[in-house]
């Protein structure tokens, strides 16, 4: 796919993706806006600039893999994949409806261009590692990228996978923690604190990079740094704001998993013009 590397252009796409997310979830009357909005720049920067992929040939064996381990944030992934041409843009409004390719959580049976079915938290890093191992065995340049929620990494399997990735020196794995500090029941620091996050990953043998997850240029730089690291996997600790871009959703745990009303949708779209 033809890359877009201009940060301003990528930021504009992210804003457009936020509009799609709000409209999709409003239409669906259920879904998880907060984590989709916090991950917008991360997913956009990956799909439009970083990943080696080809929407015309989705099963290209040397493609980079992308896994949204925090599967409940699929609206932003669907919007971006549709923008890339993997799936129909004019069907985004069928999110969560019977027979839609846009299932409530990513489902490869309905959307084969997805790399994995996710939705049960904690599993995507292991899947990415499996794909990275296969790439290594096949002498393929493919890299595996996986977006994790910060709440998600409370799952023990994440740390099993972290040990494995370090043991096998999987420098073709890049995890991104969408560190938006909010999970379903409230603030991460109250539910189950994770700090110090970069130190945790470093002590598990990973190259950890802290980055502003809404600064496209900073993300581009961080992804380049990760790709240059040899002999160990990398993780971006992307500091983000849950609900980013919509004033009444920002840092508001309510919008982890609540759809906007039509009035809230209109206000949000006004703010995202």
């Amino acid at each position: 796919m033809r890359k877009i590397s201009d940060p301003a252009q990528l930021a504009a796409i992210a804003r457009q993706m936020r509009r799609e997310v709000i409209q999709m979830i409003t239409e669906a009357k259920s879904g998880h806006p907060g984590g989709s909005l916090s991950a917008a720049e991360i997913v956009v920067t990956l799909f439009f600039d970083v990943l080696r992929h080809d929407p015309a040939n989705p099963k290209w064996s040397d493609r980079d893999r992308f896994i949204l381990s925090k599967g409940h944030c699929c609206p932003v992934l669907y919007a971006v994949m549709a923008e890339c041409g993997y799936c129909p843009k004019d069907r985004l409004n069928t999110l969560r409806k019977l027979g839609s390719v846009y299932q409530g959580h990513p489902d490869v049976r309905f959307l084969p261009a997805l790399e994995a079915s996710t939705g049960s938290l904690g599993q995507g890093l292991s899947l990415a590692i499996g794909m990275a191992l296969a790439a290594r065995l096949d002498h393929s340049p493919a890299r595996a990228y996986v977006v994790l929620g910060d709440g998600e990494i409370q799952e023990g399997q994440i740390w099993e996978a972290a040990m494995f990735g370090a043991k096998y020196g999987l420098d073709n794995v890049c995890a991104i923690v969408d560190n938006n500090r909010i999970q379903l029941d409230g603030f991460v620091k109250d539910i189950m604190p994770l700090d110090p996050l970069p130190e945790k990953w470093r002590s598990f043998g990973w190259h950890a990079i802290e980055v502003d997850g809404h600064d496209v240029a900073a993300l581009q730089h961080a992804f380049a740094e990760a790709a240059a690291v040899k002999g160990k996997p990398s993780v971006l600790i992307a500091h983000t704001i849950k609900g980013k871009g919509v004033s009444f959703m920002e840092n508001n745990p309510k919008f982890h998993g609540a759809a906007p009303t039509p009035e809230e949708c209109a206000r949000a779209l006004e703010e995202l013009r």
Binding site: S61, R109, S120, L127, G130, L133, Q157, A161, K167, Y168
Partner: protein
């Protein structure tokens, strides 16, 4: 289905444990198919995957004591075109990896093979925390999974190869103890097709795994009483061979199902479903009751928990009394 009369009088001759046959077959498979990769969780000397690891170190991944992670890594490998075999004790593989099996393997239907060794109570002295007595039930609860339980080393060797050739998720159940030889070398097996080992007209003994040999011994006990018992090895528990089971129900009118598994949620209930839908017959069940076992010698445990030829024969007598 080809009816195969293998022997009339069964004599117990111990072969290799099915776990050992698995390891040997896997190492052969590694040579034949470069896409086969193997994962283990710190039990490779017990599951016999170490043999593959020695021959193909680049394709062997030691995951440490982290079964959940192992399953999902295997699923990732499978979705990139590899044929992963992930192995551990069945009790850990299924119970600790179940959620990962559900979401990363069964639901997207990836081409993953899992092999659980040390199933049943015949593992002996290590006791119930290590004994998998519910793995058939768990594996059958994974939609789209194929569930296989070979009776001896010949069956295991053939079915490991068949599983590698089959495109889809498979669970294979293996035992720790040396298993009596049921089949001659080179006997053929097809996934999903039960094998009629002994012909009989009065009652059918349907078994899987270690209980196949016990059922053959039971058939001989019954023969001495003038009862002609058919014996079926249902090595593939899911998808189950409905046709062969339905025919046995129609032709013999009495059925005993025997397994080294919790009796209320294994092969027995699956056979009963087929029989009730096709040719209702008098049925009896041999398996582990609503309990966990204990430490002991394998033979002592099989005696104490009622998984012997005598138990199968007694169940047949009960079924025959009710046969219409």
């Amino acid at each position: 289905m080809a009816t195969q009369q293998i022997r009339t009088k069964f004599e117990v001759k111990l072969g290799a444990a099915t776990r050992e046959a698995f390891g040997k077959a896997l190492a052969e498979l590694g040579a034949a198919n470069p896409n086969v990769v193997v994962l283990d969780a710190d039990l490779s000397k017990s599951t016999y995957t170490a043999e593959f690891g020695k021959k193909f170190p680049a394709r062997f991944f030691e995951c440490g004591i982290a079964e959940a992670n192992m399953i999902a890594i295997a699923a990732g490998l499978a979705s990139s075109g590899k044929i992963p075999f992930a192995s551990s004790f069945s009790a850990f593989l299924l119970n600790k990896g179940f959620e990962q099996l559900r979401v990363t393997a069964a639901f997207p239907r990836v081409n993953l093979k899992i092999v659980g060794t040390h199933s049943g109570i015949s593992i002996g002295e290590d006791g119930p925390s290590q004994m998998s007595i519910e793995d058939i039930s768990l594996a059958c609860s994974l939609a789209g999974f194929t569930v296989i339980c070979p009776a001896d080393e010949v069956a295991m060797a053939a079915l490991v190869k068949a599983a590698a050739e089959y495109d889809g998720p498979v669970f294979i159940r293996a035992g720790r103890a040396k298993a009596p030889l049921v089949y001659p070398a080179g006997h053929e097996f097809a996934i999903g097709r039960a094998i009629q080992i002994a012909e009989g007209a009065d009652v059918t003994l349907i078994a899987t795994g270690l209980l196949v040999a016990e059922s053959l011994l039971a058939a001989d006990l019954l023969a001495a009483e003038g009862v002609s018992a058919r014996v079926l090895d249902v090595h593939t528990i899911k998808p189950i061979d409905r046709e062969t089971i339905a025919r046995a129900a129609a032709e013999t009118g009495a059925i005993v199902v025997a397994e080294e598994h919790l009796v209320d949620c294994g092969l027995g209930v699956r056979v009963a479903q087929v029989v009730s839908q096709t040719h209702p017959a008098a049925m009896e069940f041999v398996g582990i009751g609503n309990t966990y076992a204990e430490s002991g010698a394998p033979d002592e445990l099989l005696d104490k928990y009622g998984l012997r030829a005598g138990n199968v024969a007694e169940a047949a007598r009960r079924a025959l009394k009710r046969k219409k």
